[in-house]
Symmetry: C2
Subunit: 401 residues, 2 copies
């Protein structure tokens, strides 16, 4: 098998942990696999460098930040390569550039445009372990770029795609993807398999194992991911195509997002395009509007409710002030949470949503807004009932069984 | 003027010092100069990374070491660029690769083969300050290399040569080149100017300001160096062609090297090539033989005396054991020092050497070996008289005047 392994910052957080990672890589190699390892910077290093930069400027140039931040992954790649050599395993350590990773020019949030797999293939053909500095690439004209948050995951998935790897193992300090946050519901169970789409919903709803960009890329490239821990030998969670999952559970997981605030406009003039104008103004400030509900009110006026990230509420208020001629009344509620039920099974089963609503009713939790997709039901509720709602739904869908 | 400035590890040793460097660079720019800045890693960083590597292996691969160590200078370059931007000065930070520095394939001790000055020239033409990560380059086939000890000085001199810069300012924590070590002779004076050849002699004799490789390169490329401190505004020492120095002092400086040991072979068989065999064997162990004196002894046998670095004496003994059939007696004296008088003026003046010998005689210091070049007289003496000899010679040549 050709396996791409990616180790995150905590997995390579100190020299002992890098040694531990080397042992894991060696094991995979000795089991007869071809192995490419993608590494993050040692945990804390990237933040240290960001602090250094902020010492000089609140707004350092993105090009300089890329040069600065790309150094951390190089260090880890070189150290892991040295550790593997010492175990008698030949390696080639590569920067993003040397691994053939070409990105667009969007410094600090670059997108991978293509990967030239030849240098990696050559090293693999020679029986070597390839160790790649994650999170980075270069533009066509040789500028150093980084891929933004979760960038090393992206590097790993893209490399797995380019090499046609059998599996992309993403190691962190958690065992895999759970039916819900075990800190909220101790009965939460680790999922053996989950589809890309479910993972995408769970990730955007707050599950921290994998970020959306890498799951999206894995889906696009057909890369099978296994999310697992580098601190134990437990099997992880496979993230793959829906068709690969034989036994499709009705519901895979329950997610809670407490970083939500609700904005309620009452008596909005029913003028064409007004909603579009408001949401465009918010988008221009990079505010992510999540759920939107529009209802008809009195006198040909409409009511508009939407949610925004709680930590951006002050900025939202400033934007909304610009529109104050357009509505009669505005209310802000920072104390709401979004609880979501995710599962591919609900596509083919009715009654999933009604069970969620019944569960909320039984717990006397008022649902303020509802939004549904093919594989997800999200409900906005009073923030203080967030954990209760998660536990009740986890039980209602028998996820602890 | 086009100025290349190079700041060493202590000059960029913490964030405040980088800020200080930024102010110096800004001043040079605001005075109307085009400026290229070459930076080292923050002091301590390189040693930290070496310690990390040694944790995993006593003999890490040189290719990995280059990937590892080249990260430190990138960090400093990015941070200095950010600091300059914040002062309103446009910059382009460059890695060795981006600055067009191409080296041979000798990892960890690479030699610069060529520099493509176009990217730097373009940035300078746009009015930008160029900030280059020193100590590094890439090979023709894209491997990351480092230049070895004093590598950032080499980067700076090579860049100054490639750009035809008017001056290469090398900043460290010392004010310049002194007539002798001020810790030995407080009356030591800073030299305003010194020739490349004198600097080479002084550097190889222990003056720590500049290393020989960069002085040699400066001489070859005709780059005028000014060695100065980044911690004050004192003028430094100009290192330039002998012809540029109007007033040629008889003697420029006195140097002391206490890392010397004497090896004395008595009764060496007078067989052709025996000396060559011995010195080849020592060279194979990377032992630097310094002074060599051969005298004719009794019975067609010769005596051979030479000096080696004191800290390599044990290794020397092992090598010499292999030749024990070739000599009657061997003696090792680890307690010797080399005191040297350097000056281009001695080319055209007689009596310089005899004044040195007289001075030693007056102080009752026995001279064990003598070696002279066009611009240097070196004497091996008992180590305990080293400082006394320096002070006596300093006074004899009126260097304190």
């Amino acid at each position: 098998m050709l396996i791409v392994q990616k180790y995150g910052g905590t997995s390579v957080g100190n020299l002992e942990r890098i040694e531990n990672v080397a042992k894991r890589v060696a094991k995979a190699k000795k089991e007869g696999n071809d192995v490419v390892v993608v590494v993050s910077a040692m945990s804390g290093e990237t933040n240290k460098l960001i602090d250094y930069a902020k010492h000089f400027s609140p707004t350092p140039s993105k090009r300089d930040m890329d040069l600065l931040l790309s150094s951390g992954e190089r260090v880890t790649a070189a150290l892991l390569s040295i550790a593997l050599n010492e175990m008698g395993l030949p390696t080639v350590a590569m920067t993003g550039r040397q691994a053939g990773i070409v990105t667009d020019k969007s410094h600090t949030v670059a997108r991978i445009e293509k990967i030239d797999p030849k240098p990696m293939k050559k090293a693999l053909d020679e029986g070597k372990i390839v160790v790649v500095a994650g999170f980075q690439g270069i533009t066509e004209d040789g500028q150093v770029t980084t891929l933004g948050r979760g960038g090393s995951d992206l590097s790993a998935v893209a490399i797995a795609g380019a090499l046609g790897a059998d599996k992309c193992e993403i190691y962190s300090d958690v065992d895999g993807v759970y039916t819900t946050d075990p800190r909220i519901e101790p009965k939460a169970k680790k999922l053996d398999k989950i589809s890309y789409d479910e993972m995408l919903e769970l990730a955007s709803l707050g599950a921290k194992v994998l970020q959306n960009r890498s799951v999206e890329l894995a889906k696009k490239l057909g890369v099978v991911i296994e999310a697992k821990s580098s601190f134990n030998d437990n099997p992880g969670t496979i993230i793959t195509k829906e068709e690969e999952i034989m036994e499709k559970p009705l519901v895979s997981g329950i997610a809670l997002d407490k970083n939500q605030a609700r904005v309620s406009l009452r008596g909005v003039k029913d003028r064409p395009g007004i909603a579009a104008e408001i949401f465009k103004a918010l988008a221009n400030e990079n505010i992510n509007v999540d759920m939107i509900v529009q209802t008809i009110g009195e006198d040909d006026k409409t009511n508009l409710d939407f949610t925004v990230p709680q930590n951006e509420l002050e900025l939202v208020k400033k934007v909304m002030d610009r529109f104050k001629e357009e509505y009669q009344k505005i209310e802000y509620d920072p104390d709401v949470a979004k609880v979501s039920v995710v599962g591919v099974g609900m596509k083919s089963h009715s009654g999933v949503a009604s069970r969620a609503f019944e569960t909320m009713a039984k717990e006397n939790i008022n649902i303020e807004m509802i939004s549904t997709s093919e594989i997800k039901i999200s409900m906005i509720i009073d923030e203080k009932y967030g954990e209760l709602a998660v536990r009740a739904l986890h039980a209602a869908y028998e996820l602890d069984k």
